[in-house]
Every structure is written in structure tokens, then in C-alpha cells.
């Protein structure tokens, strides 16, 4: 199905400042903001959405311009399709360098000090980071919601798996998830009887199958427990073959490309191997698909090129009174006008770095003092090898399969769990393949002609990259702060990030390296893993060095909890301090387990939408604790 995008814009800034008819203002157009906009508008509420970036990408032509930019960039990193906008900067890996302990790099958008440098990113664009996300959609496990009780690690959620399960199904419908329930066998989660995903799972790549041939049915022993391992598919928010058993036999209609005119594209994945940074055909879910439906209600208005810069509190009531917004005309010029917008409910959905950045820049640390703290992101450890036979690498979606048998287990008392991705795009993430290989074969190995063609097959088509997504637990000293010394072109304070990788995670990383060596041995693969001592993400641990990459799975910075003194928001993502303020997104998550965060933060958005509707309709006044 094709989605029409007919945006309703507010350009009348004078009238907008006087407008007191909005039920809600939402800051950010990513998945959380989009789901909330759709749910509120469908319930008859009027919503104003603020987006810091331009609207490029909202329609078909703009989206194609991002793709052309990607083709043209020599450095094809995960932000390469998205133009630099000094008024709404975003982190980029290309800005980073190794830092000595205590040395600060303020040339990058996120200010960091050494020794560990995170290369985590998020996208400030229409659609937010859903423009570049990979769209793997694993649910969190039952035990991930109670790690403090079960493993004496991290924090317990004020919600259980059962509390959130119906909302996972709403997410799977909205995002169009392709997957199979039976591929979750043995994992600590459950589905209602008879449940199927909207679409059948995407088939494993030939590369996945070659790995599976070598390891399926084997096992590993950890902490005295035996864990059988196998390659299995990941559920993905990517259009495949609809399952006619879905929805009690109603079936499912995939949502293709968004455009302002008829365009039939994206109804099914074509195998572009480019989920990150941009699906060329929009077969991958992005929040524009949800926003198109929200605009169609006629009750959502958009103000783009509008950077929320201050949340103002009424001293008497403790309520948010307005949000100050800097509206700019041209991304390359800092000239802007500052306006104030009002609504009954204010929703910050700007991601787990930008939301706390805005709160802290507004002087709002919360009663608990936890705004900006407990910053989490998965720690990735990359391991790469050459398989003995050609495996057809560089085809498929970015990742179709992996090993998820070490996501759960009693070992989590001692060390972090992980999920393993098999990368269909080869060693790219680790070494810059295939371009780095081409340069090496031509410049150093002096290959050309037919010999080079064969050399490329030998070098590229056997590549296997195992990316270990390792759990990171909340830690109050891992945090986002602001500092008036570091500002952007509009004078907004930039985020300052302080992070160290905890020992709990590093024990998991050390085991991940050993696990990879075991897998490579079973496959007869040549282990080519080598961590550059000059790597900005280098972490020494027990005499070995590990290059830790960021996962762009940001969480924890406005943590959810049971009371005002142990958390920033309640289980509906409502601020304990300001009852008309909702902080939605990964920042509310007390733990991240070994699941990519988007399905879970999107599930929480549905929960918040219900709470906001109850509040707007006068059914609740106080934040919701555990009672």
C-alpha cells in the first residue's frame, strides 16, 4: 500500500504563539513522536509536532535526494545520506579521534573526554533515527525486566514483560514486522496462542546458511551451563511476504513508500543490502509511514526547522507552561526567531541524548537528580574472519540472521549477555570493506584485470563479520550533561557525554571474543580480527585490548521507576515533577538487555498515549506508581 504524505505546516509564527488550542506538543518526529501523534490524533486530539531538522526526506523526491547524497559520499558512514545542518547538528563518526585520559574533543557535536570515546550516533532529520536504523525488532526478554531481582545487576523495571506484551504486538503491526514465532523457541519470552507476525520471516542469507551448517546443533558451556547454539533469523520491520493467518485470518497489507503522489515501491524488500544508512525503496519502516497517517487525520500540524531550546515551568503549579523554540529559515545561517508554543500536554521525544540535553539546558535536573544519568548504549565488539568457501557476502538485508542463545542465562549474575549479528555486508563496519580491500589489492598486491576480479571474490565473498551486541547496565556516572562553553550555531548547549564501559560488560566482551574464536574454529575460518591500538574506542581489559563500538541504542537518561526519588518518569513515561510533561523514548528504559531498543521504546509510546488520553479526558491527575 502506498502512503500519501500531505503535511500540514504552521508557518504563521505570530498566530502560532497565540494558539492555545493544541492538546499536545511533541518534540521530535522519530518513532516515539510519530506513534504518539497518530494515537492522539486518531482519538480526536490536536497535536503540534516540532522537528529541529528540515523536512528533507518527508516525500519521495526528498527521500531520493538523500539516496543520491549517499551514492556521492566517499565515506559511506551511517550518517552519510544526511546533510550537515549547523543549526541542528548530529553526531558523526567521522568527527571522532582518539583521546588521552582527560583530553577533550569539542570539535565533534557531542563533546567527549578520553580515554574511552563513544561513536554512538542518532539522526536529526524528519523521521529521526528511524531513517537510518537497521530495523531489527527483537523483543526484550522476560528476565530483562527484572535484572536487579534476578541477577543483582542493573535496575528492575516498574513493568513486566506481560505488562508490555500487548504493546509489542501493536508495534509489530504499525512497523510491519516480518518474523516467525517459532524462531523464538527457547527464548525467555512468549506470545499469545495462535499469534503470528504480520509478515513471514525473511529467509536467512546464503552466508547465514553456511555459518549454520558449521555450528547448528553444537553447544557452548558457560558458568557450568550448556547452551545449544544455532543460527536463526531476526524479526525485522521490513516488508516481506504477508502472513494470511495474521489478525485472525484478516492478513496484512504492507506499507510501502511514502510520497505525495502515486508511487508503487517498497511493498517488499528487494535486497539492497543498505538498511543502514538508508533503504532505497522504503521497504524498511521509518516513522514517516506513521506520520503520513497522522497527517491524514487533519489534526497534526508540523513546525520544522524548529529547535526546542527551553522547557519553561510555572513556579506556582509546577506545570510546564510553554516550550521556547528557535525557528530558523536557512540551515546554513543562524538567523532565527524565538517563539513560544503552548499546549495542555508537552511530550519530549527527541531521543535519549537530546531529551535530557534539553531538560538540563532548561535547568530541569528532576527531584531525583537522574536526568542525563544512567546513559546506556549497547557495546559492540566486532570479530571478523574469512570462511573457507565463497559464501556470497554483500547480499541481503544488512543482517538476516544471528545467534541469540546467549541472551539469557544464570551467567548474567557475573557477566553481560549478548546477541550476535551475522553481517551480510561483510567486514564494512570493522575495516571499511569492500573499498579498503579494493585499494589493498590494487595498490599493494598489484592486481588488475581478471586476476583482480578473482582476487576480489577471494577477499570479499568469503567475509564473515560477527557483531556482538553486548549488554550495558545502568550506571549513574555514565551520563549526558551540558556546559555553556559548548554551544551550536543557534546558541543551544550541545551534549557532553561521559562514559566508561563497565567491567560487567567487559567480562561479556572478553567472553564474546572467545566465543567468536570458537565459532571460527568450528567453521574452519581464518580469524582476521585485529584491534588497532590507536582505535578511539579501545578498552584495555585483563591485558587485552578490545575496540568497543557504539550501538546507537540509546537509553536510560530519564529513567522510569516506582517513585519520585528513584526515577525521572513513572511507568507511563510521565514526569514525576511536572504532571503535564511526558518524556518518551529509550531514555525511560531502566535496562536494555540484548534487544535493539526501538521496538521497546515504541511499545512504551502506546502506553503513554493511553495515559495522555486519560489525562486529557480528565480521568487521572497524579503520576502512576506501582499501586
Amino acid at each position: 500500500m502506498h502512503l500519501y504524505m500531505n503535511i500540514r505546516r504552521r508557518n504563521d509564527l505570530d498566530a502560532l504563539q497565540q494558539d492555545e488550542t493544541y492538546d499536545a506538543v511533541i518534540v521530535g518526529s522519530g518513532p516515539s513522536g510519530a506513534i504518539l501523534a497518530l494515537e492522539l490524533c486518531q482519538a480526536g486530539k490536536r497535536v503540534l509536532m516540532l522537528e529541529a531538522a528540515t523536512e528533507t526526506g518527508k516525500g519521495f523526491d526528498g527521500y531520493q535526494s538523500l539516496l543520491t547524497r549517499f551514492y556521492s559520499r566517499v565515506g559511506k558512514d551511517n550518517q552519510s545520506p544526511f546533510p550537515v545542518n549547523p543549526n541542528a547538528l548530529m553526531p558523526r563518526g567521522s568527527e571522532l579521534r582518539k583521546l588521552a585520559s582527560g583530553e577533550t574533543n569539542s570539535d565533534s557535536y557531542i563533546v567527549q573526554s578520553g580515554p574511552y570515546v563513544s561513536d554512538t550516533v542518532y539522526t536529526r532529520a524528519f523521521g529521526g533515527t528511524s531513517m537510518h536504523w537497521e530495523a531489527k525488532t527483537p523483543r526484550m526478554l522476560r528476565e530483562d525486566f527484572k535484572t536487579r531481582t534476578t541477577f543483582a545487576q542493573g535496575l528492575d523495571w516498574p513493568l513486566s514483560y506481560e505488562d508490555i506484551e500487548p504493546d509489542y504486538r501493536r508495534v509489530e503491526r504499525e512497523m510491519g514486522v516480518a518474523g516467525e514465532v517459532e524462531d523464538h523457541d527457547g527464548l525467555d519470552l512468549s506470545f499469545p496462542p495462535g499469534y503470528v507476525f504480520p509478515m513471514h520471516g525473511l529467509p536467512l542469507s546464503y552466508l547465514d546458511q553456511q555459518v549454520g551448517k558449521g555450528i547448528d546443533g553444537s553447544s557452548v558451556v558457560l558458568d557450568g551451563q550448556t547452551y545449544p547454539i544455532k543460527v536463526r533469523p531476526y524479526p525485522q520491520a521490513r516488508n516481506g511476504v504477508p502472513n494470511d493467518k495474521y489478525d485472525g485470518g484478516e492478513g496484512f497489507t504492507p506499507q510501502g513508500a511514502v510520497a505525495s503522489y502515486q508511487i508503487d515501491q517498497g511493498g517488499r524488500c528487494q535486497g539492497n543490502t543498505n538498511c543502514v544508512p538508508l533503504c532505497p525503496v522504503q521497504a524498511k519502516y521509518h516513522s514517516g509511514k506513521t506520520l503520513a497517517k497522522a497527517f491524514a487525520t487533519g489534526r497534526l500540524d508540523l513546525l520544522s526547522q524548529a529547535v526546542a531550546s527551553k522547557v519553561s515551568i510555572d513556579g506556582a503549579t509546577g506545570l510546564v507552561s510553554e516550550i521556547e523554540v528557535k525557528v530558523y529559515h536557512d540551515p546554513d545561517h543562524s538567523a532565527h526567531r524565538t517563539i513560544k508554543v503552548k499546549a495542555k500536554i508537552f511530550i519530549l521525544a527527541a531521543n535519549a541524548i537530546e531529551t535530557p540535553r534539553l531538560l538540563l539546558a532548561s535547568g530541569l535536573k528532576s527531584s531525583s537528580g537522574l536526568v542525563g544519568r544512567n546513559l546506556m548504549d549497547h557495546a559492540y565488539l566486532l570479530n571478523w574472519a574469512l570462511l573457507p568457501e565463497v559464501a556470497g557476502t554483500f547480499r541481503g538485508t544488512s543482517c538476516t540472521g544471528g545467534i541469540v542463545d546467549l541472551r539469557a542465562g544464570s551467567f548474567r549474575r557475573n557477566q553481560a549477555a549478548f546477541a550476535v549479528d551475522i553481517h551480510n555486508d561483510g567486514w564494512g563496519w570493522a575495516t571499511g570493506s569492500p573499498f579498503s580491500d579494493l585499494q589493498q589489492l590494487v595498490d599493494q598486491r598489484n592486481m588488475f584485470g581478471a586476476e583482480l576480479q578473482k582476487g576480489l571474490v577471494d577477499r570479499l565473498s568469503r567475509q564473515l563479520l560477527l557483531a556482538f551486541m553486548i549488554e550495558v547496565m545502568p550506571n549513574e556516572s555514565n551520563r549526558i550533561t551540558v556546559d555553556p562553553s559548548y554551544t551550536d550555531a543557534l546558541g543551544n548547549m550541545r551534549p557532553v557525554l561521559s562514559m566508561t564501559i563497565p567491567d560487567y560488560t567487559m567480562r561479556g566482551a572478553a567472553y564474546a571474543r572467545q566465543f567468536a574464536r570458537t565459532i571460527f574454529s568450528r567453521l574452519g575460518a581464518q580469524d582476521c580480527t585485529a584491534y588497532d591500538p590507536g582505535d578511539y574506542g579501545l578498552v584495555p581489559y585483563h591485558g587485552e585490548n578490545y575496540a568497543i563500538r557504539g550501538g546507537n541504542h540509546l537509553a536510560g537518561t530519564h529513567v522510569m521507576g516506582t517513585a519520585k526519588n528513584n526515577s525521572v518518569v513513572d511507568r507511563d513515561q510521565r514526569s514525576w515533577d511536572h504532571s503535564n510533561l511526558y518524556l518518551v523514548g529509550g531514555g525511560s528504559m531502566p535496562t536494555i538487555g540484548t534487544a535493539n531498543v526501538t521496538p521497546t521504546l515504541a511499545a512504551l509510546a502506546y502506553r503513554s498515549a493511553r495515559a495522555i488520553l486519560r489525562q486529557l479526558d480528565g480521568q487521572t491527575t497524579a503520576p502512576s506508581g506501582l499501586s
Binding site: Y71, P280, V390, F394, N424, P434, L438, V442, F448, L452
Partner: protein, 151 residues
């Protein structure tokens, strides 16, 4: 307009250094752009030397190509760059020592001459794949063994 004789020689040179035939090379739609790009960077005179050196080869064997082109102090870096341009769609900045000896080449740098140059990179063809983000082979094609031209 492209000087037809010089362009024809450039095409023959490209066949010899890529291992792909002229139909495949012309099918990229990039041949004239690559010729113009290389000439713009290294200059008309050096391009002439390269074309002449190639045209003067008694036979186009790998050994003679190595000896007279890839192993030539001036032409080697240029012809290697042409190989990388055809396979990857990227013109890589020439080595500093080349610039000192044979420059200045004011237009030099690392760049992609056109968005299509990336899409038409021949390395993807060589490995039976497709450029990431373009020329998708179709749903579920990834589940079967690759078809590799030279295997």
C-alpha cells in the same frame, strides 16, 4: 566532444586493466566521464603518454602491462587509479610523491565523479553482488548461492 581515437584507446586500455569487455564498460555509462575525469586531474600530456605507452605495446599481456604501465614511475599510479575508478567508482588522491614529481595536479583529491559512478562500480559485478543501496537483485535472492562471473 571526446576525441574519438584517444577515447577508443582509453577504452582498450580499460579492457586490459579491468578484465571486462567494452560492452560491459560502455554499459556503465561512465566511460567518457572516467576518461574526462582522469585527464582533468593528470592533464592532457600525461594522459597522452599513458595512451601512447599502451598503444605501443607489441602485445597486451599482463607481463608487458606490468613492465610498461603499472611499473612505470609516472604512469603506474595513474593506471592503478583507473583500475580503482572502474571497480569502485572512486578517484583516489594520487600519492604525494607523484604530485611532487609530476604535478601540480590541481584537481586531484579523493572523490566520486558522479552518483552513478558508485552505482556502476565493477567490483560488485565481479563478486556476483550489487552495490549496497542500488541494483537490488530482488526479494530472497540472498538465500541462494551467488553467481560469480569468473568462477
Amino acid at each position: 566532444m571526446v576525441d574519438d581515437q584517444r577515447f577508443q584507446t582509453f577504452l582498450e586500455l580499460s579492457e586490459a586493466i579491468t578484465g571486462f569487455g567494452r560492452v560491459r564498460l560502455l554499459g556503465t555509462g561512465q566511460a567518457e566521464l572516467y576518461f574526462a575525469t582522469a585527464e582533468r586531474v593528470v592533464g592532457h600530456a600525461i594522459m597522452d603518454e599513458l595512451l601512447t605507452a599502451f598503444a605501443d605495446l607489441p602485445t597486451r599481456t599482463p607481463e608487458l602491462l606490468r613492465l610498461h604501465l603499472f611499473g612505470n614511475e609516472m604512469l603506474g599510479d595513474v593506471v592503478r587509479n583507473l583500475v580503482k575508478l572502474w571497480f569502485g567508482g572512486v578517484w583516489y588522491q594520487l600519492p604525494a610523491i607523484w604530485q611532487q614529481a609530476y604535478g601540480p595536479a590541481a584537481e586531484d583529491g579523493t572523490f566520486i565523479p558522479s552518483p552513478d559512478a558508485y552505482v556502476e562500480g565493477l567490483m560488485w559485478v565481479a563478486i556476483g553482488a550489487h552495490p549496497a543501496g542500488a541494483k537490488a537483485p530482488g526479494f530472497a535472492s540472498w538465500a541462494v548461492a551467488p553467481q560469480i562471473p569468473l568462477s
